[in-house]
Symmetry: C2
Subunit: 340 residues, 2 copies
């Protein structure tokens, strides 16, 4: 498989950093870091995620959403390893736009997400600077043998997700292109679903970077492929579908771009599917089937115009190659997808 | 006591945030957050600190120092609660100046501090933006009943520190005023010292914001005062003393400004002093006596010109009142100190 610019950069950054003996996951192998803290007892799950580019590009302009997302993106990583939430630490760097009203809305977003995600704010730091940036580190607990990894699926496993896809990119397009339409974007924590998933899944990752990036990353880690056999209407978010129709965009654009919907993407062995679906029903939620795991690496996808096999590495690298030029990126992405 | 702008701001930010039931420390009561994760076993110590203003003002211009400090500031907080280091997560936001050479030096700083502080890098995040900023969250373990708090000292307790004071502010002055002299600034972890201190100390805080800010914060939390009876020559760093002499600055300026030396400042009950000093000797380090805890709030300090009782609240607020105007701040601080 072609290499991914972002992955190479991270491998390069960490090249000379010694790893911790108590760490139970390899680099890129889990959405959160899993640390053993004693011979018995729970394992720690730790994750750190920042909101910086999203502010600078205008993707997140509402301070409430900013606060909400600072917590939610970290909650999402914890749920993707099947951890129970414990708490969160937040660094808030306030730029010139952070007047009292801005800070107030931001704190409301943090407070509401903190409550929704069951991640009380344990502490943090504040800075005053020429820019606004939020970093957070969330802590959770999980148990030996039952935490979820990105690695572990087998050919024939069923590919599922916790919810519909494409809303994150629909929202991003609306924000970046100043489209005159309302798109309500407020991803929700998936701890309840994760509590069921962790009993059954052979791999799991959140869709924080959109569906195609998630599938690409899972493919490279597992050296397998995915066949997404479902009609996109069955799993594309209705708002994303409407947007594509009104703008004449290929639906895959909203699966391929890197602003996700923060659902969980996971695989279930076929022989355990009935039991998994039963447990999901008991918990009052309905997982969404996307397709199956295939032996050969690569993605096969049904679109409104037929079956395609997009080069997901090329799609992912398009973004990094544009160095923050959003218009250029969107144009190139659509051009590539239309060429398929 | 007069209130502190920074403390008020933090109280305001956290006003509507529910606290975690498992959290064993109150707001501002400890340098790191202490969390119970089970009925038995160790407690978690968590802290999060960012380097943003220090980059923007030019205080940290060497990328190696930047990386070193991102780890060290968090290690310092862990040692100030008497925790054993476990690991660290780092978010790196890269600005335009972050070319390959910059990133390389930065990672060397992180790697060396990570090793020196016994804080392996567990994970993190990367962002690309118009500015450079580093946030990190360090994790440690400590035991019920033996972690250190800022609260707890009593009148008559002896005030100690792990090392000489004033180098942080000497370095800051050199950087901000572009003085043509070399000042080697690379604070070291204090976990070894903290292992001794935690058996004896009645309160502890790191001097990350300089000595006077540390003493002011300890005074307000404990509703007590400090009498620093020692000749400043006995605890001022030689480089700080030289700088004051050559520039005609009052020595207190290098204790009063907010860029610290990351030593531990702590109190020892007089009846346990001999035992404490014995244990320190065994561990091959020598604590530095500064003075005593007094019943009445307020700071009494011996300077090169006599005894002063500076208004530490006014000194702390001077910085926030200048909104990042460093020249104005330095001028006002020196003016105030000379008026005493």
């Amino acid at each position: 498989m072609k290499s991914i610019i972002e992955n190479q950069f991270i491998e390069n950054l960490t090249r000379f950093l010694p790893r911790c003996k108590a760490q139970m996951n390899g680099l890129q192998e889990t959405d959160a870091e899993i640390i053993r803290i004693g011979p018995q007892g729970p394992l720690l799950a730790l994750t750190m995620d920042s909101i910086a580019e999203e502010i600078e590009t205008g993707l997140y302009s509402d301070p409430f959403l900013l606060g909400w997302m600072a917590v939610l993106v970290n909650a999402s990583d914890l749920s993707a390893v099947g951890a129970r939430p414990l708490g969160i630490l937040i660094n808030e760097t306030f730029g010139p736009q952070a007047d009292a009203a801005f800070v107030n809305r931001l704190q409301q977003g943090i407070a509401q997400a903190s409550q929704a995600c069951e991640l009380p704010v344990l502490g943090g730091d504040t800075n005053f600077s020429g820019h606004t940036e939020l970093s957070a580190c969330a802590v959770g607990l999980c148990d030996e043998g039952s935490f979820l990894k990105r690695r572990g699926c087998r050919p024939g496993d069923l590919l599922y997700t916790t919810g519909r896809m494409g809303l994150g990119n629909a929202f991003a397009l609306r924000q970046l292109k100043h489209l005159p339409l309302e798109i309500e974007y407020r991803p929700q924590p998936r701890f309840m679903q994760s509590g069921v998933i962790r009993e059954f899944a052979t791999c799991c990752m959140d869709s924080s970077d959109g569906l195609l990036t998630t599938l690409d990353q899972l493919m490279r880690i597992n050296d397998l492929g995915f066949d997404v056999q479902r009609d996109p209407d069955s799993y594309l978010h209705p708002r994303a579908r409407d947007l594509c129709r009104s703008m004449g965009l290929p639906q895959t654009a909203l699966l391929a771009a890197p602003h996700g919907e923060f659902e969980l993407v996971f695989t279930i062995p076929p022989e355990r599917e009935m039991l998994f679906l039963g447990k999901s029903r008991e918990a009052d939620w309905q997982p969404l089937l996307l397709g199956t795991v295939t032996k050969n690496p690569g993605l096969r996808l049904i679109t409104e115009t037929g079956v395609i096999t997009p080069d997901t590495a090329e799609i992912r690298n398009l973004f990094d190659q544009q160095h923050g030029n959003m218009d250029g990126y969107i144009r190139q992405l659509i051009q590539y997808l239309k060429s398929l």
